[in-house]
């Protein structure tokens, strides 16, 4: 399968990434080059092979459901591009 300009536009939208119109065509070319190379995985018989979910043999750890940290509103807001009264400020989202 091959990636065209419209596909790049669609995935860019899914990824919430603005890609300028002039970059769509070249990006499609680059992605096609990469996907053509990846096609070689198709030649391997993976029938009955389980997908890897964990690379080391360890059970996922459990921990008590307790609060370990908190009350850090100032620290959390310290890097906000725009904030007010312990809120992050964004453009209007509801009409």
């Amino acid at each position: 399968m091959s990636v065209d300009k419209d596909t790049v536009r669609r995935i860019a939208r899914l990824a919430r990434l603005s890609v300028p119109e002039s970059r769509l065509e070249p990006m499609a070319g680059e992605l096609n080059g990469i996907f053509q190379w990846v096609e070689m995985l198709g030649e391997v018989n993976v029938e009955g092979v389980p997908a890897m979910t964990s690379v080391v043999a360890q059970k996922l750890k459990w921990r008590a459901d307790i609060v370990t940290d908190g009350g850090q509103a100032d620290a959390l807001l310290a890097n906000a591009p725009e904030g007010a009264d312990h809120f992050f400020v964004v453009p209007k989202v509801v009409e």
């Binding site: 995985l41 690379v55 890097n79």
Partner: protein, 493 residues
Amino acid sequence: MSDLVSMTLAEARDAVRAKKISSRELTGAFVAAIEQARPLNAYITETADRALAMADAADKRIAAGTPGALEGLPLAIKDLFCTKGVRTTAASRILGDFVPPYESTVTQNLWDAGAVMLGKTNLDEFAMGSSNETSAFGPVLNPWRAQDSNQNLVPGGSSGGSSAAVAADLCLAATGTDTGGSIRQPAAVTGRVGLKPTYGRCSRFGIVAFASSLDQAGPMTKTVRDAAILLTSMASVDPKDSTSVDLAVPDYEKLLDGGIKGLRVGIPKEYRVEGAAAETDALWSKGADWLKAQGAEIVEVSLPHTKYALPTYYIVAPAEASSNLARYDGVRFGHRAKDVRDIIDLYEKSRGEGFGAEVQRRILIGTYVLSAGYYDAYYARAQKLRTLIKRDFDQAYEKCDVLLTPATPSPAFAVGAKTTDPLEMYLQDVFTVTVNLAGLPGITVPAGLTANGLPLGLQLIGKAFDEGVLLRAALALETAADFKHSPAKWWTA
């Protein structure tokens, strides 16, 4: 002065502890060396004042007779580790002037051991690259140049600032992170040692995430002994990282002794790849002879799925990256675009302006392979290939204890030589990427120079959590190679 900065971590540790030199003197020498070496662009942020204050505090602890394992030793930190109160960039515009309000576990472990931070080193943006050329802060120059040449070479990547800093004596040692080769490849092309530990050995807490199932922090050092020393302090069992493995951290330096008599060293025949330099192959054979001469048994093994490792990686890593990088939205921290229509426009423009070309490419690859209709063909298949690649190693380790392979297909290349075709750059990691996919530890050791004087490395791969044996084999390789070369300090002229 130059004597101080050219010491190994072990030598400096012993000298500082014996009060032959103070941490202040040592740190001052590095601060001066870093200032002179700015043309290399190895550091994004220098923290000289903090370093000297940390050195003074270390000297006090030494005077009080309570030194930590790394007391007073100046280190460089890859700018992917969050450091409380010190700007952390991941070499990306999207993080803006982000100053973490917390400390990564690995760096906290280092400071707890008494180490001194010299600054934050340059890297490929979000650790995505093999030459340090995707950094928003410009490329790093390799301290090495070919004989009779003034051409600037890349220091490898993504930990290119760290590799350059270690090779140019701008720190005693450095931290790196390795997702597909980002510690080992830069160490190899700068003639130094790079160790990627087993997945889960070092905590990932506070390290800017690239591909969470592959990322692992590790030491970049002048010697194998230094790597053992630094790993001992970096590694820990961390409740803040659920993938950190519950396994006590040994003193790796103590595991170095004992030699390699009877050690079975596997030579995977699939690592003889087309396009690798003839010198790479020759050095590989020499490495096997060196280990054999010290009592190791050389066995030929097969890792049949090796050639599928890179394409598998270029599905798995971008898929995880596209998900991890979703957090950079211009809302809570980092760069925010101006003049936006609505919230979606804010996300799209902030990300479009903030991410560089390679990061954007990988986000798009990842989004595509995870999208409806393509998930099974790409991502699910890649996860199955990953199982097969790991199975190859499991089978090989029935016949051997460690594997010996080349480190990189070629020595350091010129700045700008591989930036037009992304695939050509991706092939740099052909020998290192399998190790990440299988979660294993790997180390590169400088082993020789090319005819025109550039360093080449060899890689050893170990069994999971068998860093002790891996380091012992690496020490044997290092001893035989007797690599004593350093680059000429042309940048101080």
